[in-house]
C-alpha cells in the first residue's frame, strides 16, 4: 500500500469536508474492495475516510411497507434479518462469511461492481437510495461500469426498500471469486413484476422484456421465448456473453418457480 492519511470522522459533514479537502480521497466502508485494491497499489488515495464512525448509519428498521437499511449495515446483519426474505437470502450469498461480516450495503452499491449482488435488489425492489445530499431512485442509481448517480463526495446513508408481495433471488456464482456471474431478483408487487439482473451487463439493470412477459403470465414457462439481448454483456474466461444471457433466462425461471 502507498501511504495515506486515515480518518475516522464522527459526523457526515466532517466526512464530506474531509473528502473535499483531500487531494484525492476515498471513502472506506467495509473495505472489501478498496483494501485489496490498495494492497495491489492500484489506487493511491491521499486520504482514506472511514465511514464506520458515523452515527445512525447502521441497522435495519421497518416502517409500514418500507424497510430502511443503513448504509453501513454489514451483509451478515441483513442476511440474518427477516424483513425481506429474498434480500436476506441475497445478502447471505455475498462473497464468503468474512466478507459478509465486514462488507456493507452502502459500500457495495456505491462501488457498482458489475458482478455485485445488491444492485440486483436495488433495481428490482422499489428502492430509494438516501445520501448525504438527497434521495436517488433505485432505478436511476446505476449508470455504468462502476458508475452511479452519486456526485463527487456524496455518501450513501441508507436504502429504503418497499416490501414486495413476493420475491426471490437466484445467483449463479463465479466458481473462483463467488461474485455473481449472473444474479436475478424477481419481485412481485401487485400486478407489477420487476426483474433485476446483475453480473450480466456493465451494471445492474431491469430486464424489461422478461418483466412484460411475466406480468402477462407469471409462470416459468413465460420466460421461454423471451430473447435476452446480450450485445453489451460482460464476457470473461468464466462465461461468455451468450452464456450469461442464457443464465438470465434460467435463473429468472427458477426465481419465478420459487415464488410460485
Amino acid at each position: 500500500m502507498y501511504q495515506f492519511n486515515y480518518h475516522k470522522p464522527s459526523t457526515l459533514t466532517e466526512a464530506t469536508s474531509r473528502m473535499v479537502e483531500a487531494e484525492e480521497g476515498a471513502y472506506l466502508s467495509g473495505g472489501m474492495t478498496l483494501i485489496p485494491t490498495l494492497k495491489q497499489r492500484l489506487a493511491a488515495p491521499s486520504d482514506v475516510i472511514d465511514l464506520s464512525g458515523l452515527p445512525g448509519m447502521s441497522g435495519i428498521s421497518i416502517d409500514g411497507d418500507i424497510v430502511s437499511i443503513g448504509a453501513m449495515t454489514r451483509h451478515a446483519e441483513v442476511a440474518a434479518s427477516d424483513a425481506i426474505p429474498a434480500l436476506a437470502e441475497l445478502a447471505g450469498g455475498i462473497g464468503d462469511a468474512h466478507v459478509r461480516n465486514r462488507g456493507t450495503l452502502g459500500g457495495s452499491i456505491a462501488n457498482s461492481d458489475p458482478a455485485a449482488d445488491y444492485p440486483a435488489a436495488i433495481v428490482a425492489l422499489d428502492s430509494t437510495v438516501r445520501t448525504s445530499i438527497g434521495p436517488i431512485a433505485g432505478g436511476d442509481f446505476f449508470t455504468g461500469l462502476f458508475e452511479t448517480a452519486l456526485r463527487e463526495g456524496e455518501i450513501v446513508t441508507s436504502v429504503d426498500f418497499r416490501i414486495p408481495d413476493a420475491a426471490a433471488y437466484e445467483k449463479f456464482p463465479n466458481p473462483a471469486s463467488r461474485y455473481a456471474v449472473v444474479g436475478v431478483m424477481v419481485a412481485r408487487c401487485g400486478d407489477a413484476v420487476c426483474v433485476g439482473v446483475t453480473g450480466a451487463g456493465p451494471h445492474a439493470f431491469r430486464a424489461t422484456a422478461l418483466e412484460e412477459a411475466l406480468a402477462a403470465d407469471f409462470s416459468p414457462g413465460a420466460v421461454d421465448g423471451v430473447a435476452v439481448d446480450s450485445s453489451d454483456f460482460n464476457a470473461d474466461i468464466h462465461a461468455s456473453a451468450e452464456y450469461r444471457a442464457h443464465l438470465v433466462g434460467v435463473l429468472t425461471k427458477r426465481a419465478v418457480a420459487r415464488i410460485g
Binding site: 484525492e24 478498496l34 497499489r41 492500484l42 489506487a43 457498482s112 456493465p202 460482460n234 464476457a235
Partner: protein, 147 residues
C-alpha cells in the same frame, strides 16, 4: 480484445477530420486525459488518469498517427505504460465516409490488449472497461463536435 462500431456525425467530413487531428479536441474527449503534447510529426504524448471502479492510475501514453490519408482514414497506435499496474496498447483504425456534405460516418475498428497486473487480476473487467472507454470517447467526440 476487438471492437468496432460507427457513429454518424453531423458535419462535413473535412471538419470531422480536422477535429480528430486536434490535440485539444482529443484531450477533451478522452476520459481522464490531462494533457496531450505533440512530440513530432503525428506523435503525441498524453497523460491519462484512468479510473475503473476503485482502480485509479495515471498513465503516460505514447500516441502515433500512422497511414494518414486525409480526410479518409488514419491508424492510431497507442502505447501506455502504467507502472505497477502494467501496460496497455491498442490500435484504432478510424475511417470517415461522406454521407452527405453535412453528415459524416465515422467507422472504427479497435484492437488492443493489456498486460501486467491489470490483466492478471482484472481480466473479468477488461472487455467491459474497454467498451466503456471506447463508447465514451466517441460519444464525447460527437457531442464536442456538435458544440
Amino acid at each position: 480484445m476487438e471492437q468496432s462500431g460507427e457513429y454518424r456525425i453531423a458535419g462535413p467530413r473535412m471538419r470531422v477530420w480536422e477535429a480528430l487531428n486536434d490535440p485539444a479536441v482529443l484531450v477533451r474527449c478522452i476520459d481522464g486525459c490531462r494533457s496531450m503534447t505533440p512530440v513530432g510529426d503525428d506523435r503525441f504524448e498524453a497523460v491519462v488518469a484512468a479510473r475503473v471502479g476503485p482502480v485509479k492510475a495515471t498513465f503516460n501514453a505514447a500516441i502515433a498517427l500512422c497511414d494518414v490519408e486525409p480526410p479518409e482514414r488514419y491508424r492510431l497506435e497507442v502505447q501506455v505504460k502504467g507502472g505497477v499496474a502494467g501496460f496497455a496498447k491498442g490500435t484504432a483504425l478510424v475511417e470517415l465516409e461522406e454521407v452527405t456534405t453535412e453528415e459524416t460516418l465515422l467507422k472504427y475498428q479497435i484492437t488492443g490488449g493489456i498486460g501486467g497486473k491489470l490483466a492478471q487480476i482484472g481480466s473479468r473487467l477488461v472487455e467491459s472497461a474497454a467498451r466503456k472507454l471506447t463508447a465514451s470517447f466517441f460519444e464525447r467526440f460527437a457531442v464536442d463536435f456538435a458544440a
